[in-house]
């Protein structure tokens, strides 16, 4: 018996060795390295980069403990909920890493209000049941002050009543949906699907010489947000006088899209389709792009949602298609020479996520941490730090270090109409916008709550 177990252990160990050798490759998709000790990090950037929330953080300010709201004598607890190992992890993990990196830097610089930030990420694998358990842990056991990030529209929807009941502020979830616009506790900084559709229409119009010249076909994952985005695109395109031909749906996890490509080709031949809008994860986006390349559809450009604005779309996708592909997002990465550039790179390195500062979702998570930090210190000015005081403090404007448009959550709903069409800049390895945020500002019609037929 013992021998057999030893052999089993040996077998697993051998596999682990093989896999470890295999995982040790040079591309950017591998597991993140272990965090390096802060002492070993080079210091020069420290002087150039602004310390996190430095201007608004008087060192002497403090507040009484409020352990039921995540404020202990030594820490301020902030949670993150999302998919770290499930089907959308390739997007969401960067978001969590961004927040973690920000808090690492903030803690290195002394934390806030005489306390350290305690960052508590919880992985739900995009599963609503797991998310419910994680939410209970974070709110009842850890008693967090707020969430920075709450991934998954189905999860957001499910937890909405509890979030409102607990007065739990949610800063910068990685999707903006109707129900969040209705809630008091959500502070969104990623463009709503309706805004992304408007932006897509604006981008298409600029490319084809006016929206009236656009003949658009949508390709969406067969999930509720896919249907919603497609409906918004149809509305935005047709409102401007363009033509929306059809939406093609792709099953989550599909490995090929032959049938969809047949209909796309029919749309091109019969209706003159000259643009494709794309909804999905980076993996689904790659499947569609490969499908287009396989049948020779390489001259119809693509614009996709924020899920498509991932570096892997350009590094791993077929060049013939990715050259004409853009993804919509609301943030700028460190290669864009913004105020936060040096700090983002430095904090990514400090947290052990070298290179991730070139990813848009990392920038989003980083910004969420920075906004939370500012809001905590603003709330503390009232003499107490609680979910209620933080919620009130969030209803205002915040510095973004240039990562996104100026944030002003004074009016309800608390969200941001900010976005641009991005693609990969091969020279820097980071994402760059085709045009500045201001270029797309006129595209947004501010209409939400579309009815899906």
């Amino acid at each position: 018996m013992t021998r057999r177990w030893l052999k089993l252990v040996a077998a697993l160990f051998a596999f682990a060795l093989i896999a470890a050798a295999c995982g040790n490759d040079d591309d950017d998709g591998g597991a993140a390295p272990a965090p390096a000790p802060a002492e070993e990090e080079p210091a020069p950037a420290e002087e150039e980069a602004p310390a996190p929330a430095e201007e608004e953080a008087p060192m002497e300010m403090t507040v009484p403990d409020n352990p039921d709201n995540g404020v202990t004598s030594s820490s301020i607890k902030v949670g993150w909920m999302g998919d770290l190992t499930g089907p959308t992890a390739s997007s969401q993990q960067f978001n969590s890493h961004g927040s973690e990196a920000y808090f690492e830097c903030a803690n290195r610089d002394g934390g806030s209000l005489g306390r350290m930030f305690e960052y508590l990420p919880e992985d739900d694998q995009f599963n609503a049941d797991n998310a419910a358990i994680n939410f209970t842990k974070l709110t009842e056991d850890d008693k967090i002050l707020a969430l920075v990030g709450l991934g998954g529209s189905h999860i957001s929807t499910q937890l909405q009543p509890d979030i409102e009941t607990l007065n739990l502020p949610v800063i910068g979830p990685p999707q903006t949906i109707d129900i969040q616009l209705e809630g008091d506790q959500y502070f969104n900084n990623l463009a709503h699907y309706g805004d992304q559709a408007d932006l897509a229409a604006g981008h298409i119009a600029a490319t084809v010489g006016g929206i009236e010249n656009a003949v658009v076909m949508g390709i969406s994952l067969e999930v509720p947000s896919g249907t919603e985005f497609a409906a918004y695109v149809e509305q935005s395109v047709e409102k401007g006088g363009g033509t929306y031909v059809n939406t093609l749906y792709v099953a989550p996890g599909a490995s090929e899209v032959t049938a969809q490509m047949v209909e796309l080709q029919a749309g091109i031949d019969d209706h003159g389709v000259n643009y494709v809008t794309l909804h999905g994860s980076p993996g689904a986006g790659l499947v569609v792009m490969q499908g287009m390349a396989d049948v020779g559809i390489t001259d119809v450009p693509i614009i996709g949602i924020h899920g498509i604005a991932a570096n892997s779309i350009w590094t791993e996708g077929p060049e013939s298609v990715s050259d004409e592909t853009f993804g919509i997002h609301s943030f700028l990465t460190a290669n864009n020479n913004i105020e936060a550039s040096a700090l983002m790179e430095e904090c990514a390195s400090l947290a052990g996520y070298d290179g991730e500062h070139l990813n848009l979702n990392f920038a989003h998570g980083f910004l969420n941490g920075y906004v939370f930090h500012q809001a905590v210190e603003r709330a503390a000015e009232t003499g107490e730090l609680s979910r209620e005081s933080l919620t009130e403090a969030l209803k205002g404007s915040f510095d973004t270090m240039g990562i996104t448009c100026p944030i002003d959550w004074a009016a309800h709903p608390h969200h941001s109409q900010c976005g641009a069409a991005f693609s990969l800049d091969a020279a820097s390895g980071g994402m760059v916008a085709a045009n500045p945020f201001s270029f797309y500002a006129d595209s947004f019609d501010g209409e939400y709550g579309i009815e899906i037929g």
Binding site: F15, A21, D25, T258, A259, G296
Partner: protein, 302 residues
């Protein structure tokens, strides 16, 4: 909105494209089904981890052929060698302990192996997707307005070659004969001096090699290599069942039939019908022929 699904039914080039796409998909299903059949035929184990085995093959192919940039033939050799060793480890480390145990206990063990493989791949490779492999010829040509990829032809050839090889192996080699004997009656085979343990070990090794070949081929046709590709195991399951879980030839026919049916369902009814139709075909076949179209019917003395 101008179009509704299904309005191109009469276009022959469209249907030809769906047929070719279905055959290409079916060839991949056949590769996976071959793995199911190989293990089931020789060990009576329904291996629900085969999709993960194939995924392992695809990731190892990425490592040896892309990251390590080995010569193609050397890389493939190393890949298959590693998969073979892994198959032996699966048998000697886990499955040997399960010989003689209940059917469902063994199925659950294979599910456990699948879970471990998924977790290890996540730990060592991370969640970020990789692009398609492009080491085999990537071009295409047209027939009747439909596109045929070179890589699909190669997959057909490899699958047909594997079936032929396994057929010859089972029919004419000593080890193949031993495998058949053990599958028919393990006690009688053991009484005749055949070591079932070694036969099972070779079976798992062969199945893993098959998964390595499948992973290498699938890595050339899937749009992205990520952990979602393990779903190919579930999707190919109807192919194995339709063909008959004990028939090597049946697995290739089952794969092609299911691939084509899925593709037409997707093209004419919509993507949501793709899997329901495939599994409906499986149900119908099972109702009419519980052993699948070419499966072996076990006779028991009473």
């Amino acid at each position: 909105m101008l179009l509704a699904f299904g309005n191109f039914t009469a276009d022959p080039s469209v249907n030809l494209q769906l047929l070719i796409g279905g055959l290409a998909l079916g060839a991949i299903y056949a590769v996976v089904a071959l793995g199911f059949v190989l293990v089931y035929k020789s060990t009576d184990v329904l291996n629900l981890a085969h999709g993960e085995f194939l995924m392992l093959g695809a990731y190892f192919a990425l490592t040896f052929l892309i990251s390590e940039n080995l010569n193609f033939f050397l890389g493939v050799f190393v890949l298959l060698l590693v998969m073979l060793v892994f198959g032996l480890l699966v048998h000697y480390g886990i499955m040997r302990r399960m010989v003689g145990q209940g059917f469902f206990a063994i199925v659950l063990i294979t599910l456990g192996i699948a879970t471990i493989i998924r977790a290890l791949l996540l730990i060592f490779y991370g969640p970020t997707e990789r692009g398609r492999l492009d080491l085999l010829p990537q071009g295409s040509f047209e027939i009747g307005g439909a596109t045929v990829r070179h890589v699909d032809i190669i997959i057909f050839a490899v699958v047909a070659g594997c079936v032929l090889l396994f057929f010859l192996f089972f029919k004419y080699t000593r080890l193949g004969l031993h495998m058949r004997a053990v599958a028919d009656d393990i006690e009688a085979a053991a009484a005749m001096g055949i070591d079932p343990d070694k036969v099972y070990a070779m079976t798992w090794a062969a199945a893993m090699v098959m998964a390595g070949i499948g992973g290498l081929l699938f890595g050339h046709v899937t749009g992205a290599i990520d952990r979602s590709i393990e779903a190919i195991g579930l999707r190919a399951f109807p192919a194995a069942v339709v063909g008959g879980l004990t028939s090597l030839g049946g697995s290739i026919v089952g794969g092609l039939v299911v691939g084509v049916i899925e593709q037409f369902a997707n093209g004419h009814l919509g993507t949501k019908w793709r899997e329901p139709v495939a599994f409906s075909v499986m149900f119908v076949v099972l109702l009419v022929r519980p052993t699948g179209l070419w499966g072996r019917k076990d006779l028991e003395r009473v």
